[in-house]
């Protein structure tokens, strides 16, 4: 099993700091998955990733739960998908989400467990755990081509 790197995010600012650095770290074609309960901070983290990617400030990063996929302009396109309302990988397939995942932007996937066999081999998994009002624990796990790049991210944090 691939070991997870744990990061204590004691304050809201720590979550924002992590997100910005993830945004700066991202390269075209990267995939980040975001897991954690409702209220764990996935929206906040994605908004901070957007800041790191230079998504214009007037372009609000809102929840994609209702519309499933939002696309944002930035240093590279950011595709923000939320699979919360989907039942299975067949639905992900039918919606053509793989075309985005293997495109030229950064793909941020919330509720990635719905991907099942479509889970990409090269990716960074980010799991957020709600500890208390502002405090979170982040677990980062790099897979495939993302593994050798993880140390450079950690050095920047």
């Amino acid at each position: 099993m691939n070991p997870a790197i744990k990061l204590a995010l004691d304050r809201l600012e720590d979550t924002v700091h992590l997100g910005r650095h993830l945004g700066l770290f991202a390269r075209p074609g990267d995939i980040f998955t975001l897991s954690g309960d409702l209220g764990a901070g996935k929206t906040t983290l994605t908004q901070a990733i957007g800041q790191g990617l230079a998504v214009p400030a007037g372009c609000y990063i809102t929840s994609p739960t209702f519309s499933l996929l939002h696309e944002y302009p930035g240093r590279m396109p950011m595709y923000h998908m939320d699979l919360y309302r989907l039942g299975s990988m067949e639905e992900v397939e039918e919606l053509g989400f793989e075309d985005y995942m293997y495109g030229q932007g950064l793909t941020v996937i919330e509720w990635p467990d719905r991907l099942e066999n479509l889970m990409p081999a090269d990716r960074l998994d980010i799991n957020l755990v709600l500890i208390s009002e502002y405090s979170r624990l982040a677990r980062l796990t790099a897979w495939g081509g993302m593994q050798p790049r993880l140390p450079s991210l950690l050095r920047e944090l």
Binding site: D37, L38, G39, A40, G41, T43, T44, Q47, G58, Y60, I61, T62, S63, T65, F66, S67, L68, L69, H70, Y84, R85, L86, G87, E90, E91, E94, L95, L130, S132, E133
Partner: protein
């Protein structure tokens, strides 16, 4: 002019027949709530398949209720967006085919424009210009509406929509989908002042909303105060779940209503409108009316049946579009995000 309106943007397949903007001859809404309830939300693939099954019988029923045939229809109005693309395409393709075969003119209608004009389906109609709050599962936006065609976006959500917050809090509390009615029902037995959930006002001048934080606060509160998962069948008036529902609802309602009144003052508007699915919430209607009365504003809200998605509002918006000379074309496509809710 007889307009047939068709709406299929989310989980309702709907058709309505209107004569001009005055007489509603038929209004059929076939909801898919039961189908989606077990998934805790709308499943898009299920939604488009169900629309495909339902659209013909729903349109047929609307024509029968209106006691007309397709040959008497002068124009088709069809929701073009925003919504789930797969669902929208079912309605749009159906309307295009019908228009082609029967040689009926058609127009695409923005679902948000439908909500903004839905108030004209009720008895109390506002005067232009008016400020309108559209709160639903996908949107929480404040607009200035200067006439039937001009809408200026004043504020919008920066994260979750109000209806989405209701759905997600319901999920945290183990309540059924859709979350709005379930929370509103339980809230009747709770004390709205029992828990001080944070109201997100953002910057002093901002007319934007943020409902992601309150969802987090509820999740935190549940984690700290409820040892076991709350039960959906708890009806005990003093139950913690009822207090959470009442306090959460109060916080959301307070922010929605206060910001809308603020928008009115800022733009010197004296007419204010509440619409969208969340406008069916009785507590929001009550607080909205009270605040508006205090400010001396004239308040108009569509009857609840026209707050949730329906095709009457699409037919009505379509009528005005036809009057303006709008015409659909065969390569007209569906869109998932409304240009009305993006800042120019």
């Amino acid at each position: 002019m007889i307009i047939l309106g068709i709406e299929s943007s989310c989980d309702e397949t709907a058709a309505a027949v209107m004569e001009n903007d005055e007489r509603l001859l038929a209004n059929v809404v076939n909801s898919q709530i039961d189908l989606h309830a077990k998934y805790g939300g709308v499943v898009p693939e299920l939604a488009s398949r169900k629309h495909l099954e339902d659209i013909f019988p729903v349109v047929d029923q609307a024509l029968q209720e209106a006691r007309i045939t397709l040959d008497q229809v002068d124009g088709l109005a069809i929701t073009q967006g925003p919504g789930l693309i797969g669902s929208l395409l079912v309605g749009l393709s159906f309307a295009k085919a019908l228009a082609l075969v029967k040689k009926i003119p058609y127009v695409g209608v923005d679902h948000m424009a439908g909500h903004l004009l839905s108030v004209f389906l009720g008895k109390t109609k506002p005067d232009f210009p008016f400020v309108a709050l559209i709160a639903s599962g996908g949107h929480s936006s404040i607009f200035l509406v200067t006439d039937y065609f001009h809408y200026t976006l004043l504020g919008r959500t920066r994260d979750d929509a109000a209806g989405e917050a209701f759905d997600k809090v319901a999920k945290i509390l183990g309540l059924p989908y859709p979350g709005g009615p379930a929370i509103s029902e339980l809230a009747k037995n709770g004390d709205p002042d029992s828990i001080n959930f944070p109201r997100s006002w953002l910057e002093p001048d901002s007319l934007d909303f943020s409902f992601s934080g309150i969802k987090t606060s509820v999740a935190n509160y549940v984690k700290q105060n409820l040892r076991r998962a709350p039960q959906a069948d708890e009806k005990n008036p003093s139950s913690v779940t009822a207090n959470i529902c009442a306090s959460f609802q109060e916080a959301v309602v307070d922010v929605l209503a206060t910001k809308t009144m603020k928008a009115c003052r800022k733009l010197a508007a004296t007419n204010v409108v509440l619409a969208g699915g969340v406008a069916a919430n009785p507590r929001l209607r009550e607080v909205f009316a009270k605040m508006a009365a205090r400010e001396g504003f004239k308040v108009s809200m569509p009857p609840t049946q026209f707050c949730t998605d329906n095709a009457a509002m699409i037919a009505l918006a379509g009528f005005h579009a036809f009057r303006q000379g709008a015409a659909g074309h065969s390569d007209m496509d569906a869109y998932s995000r409304s240009p009305l809710t993006e800042l120019a």
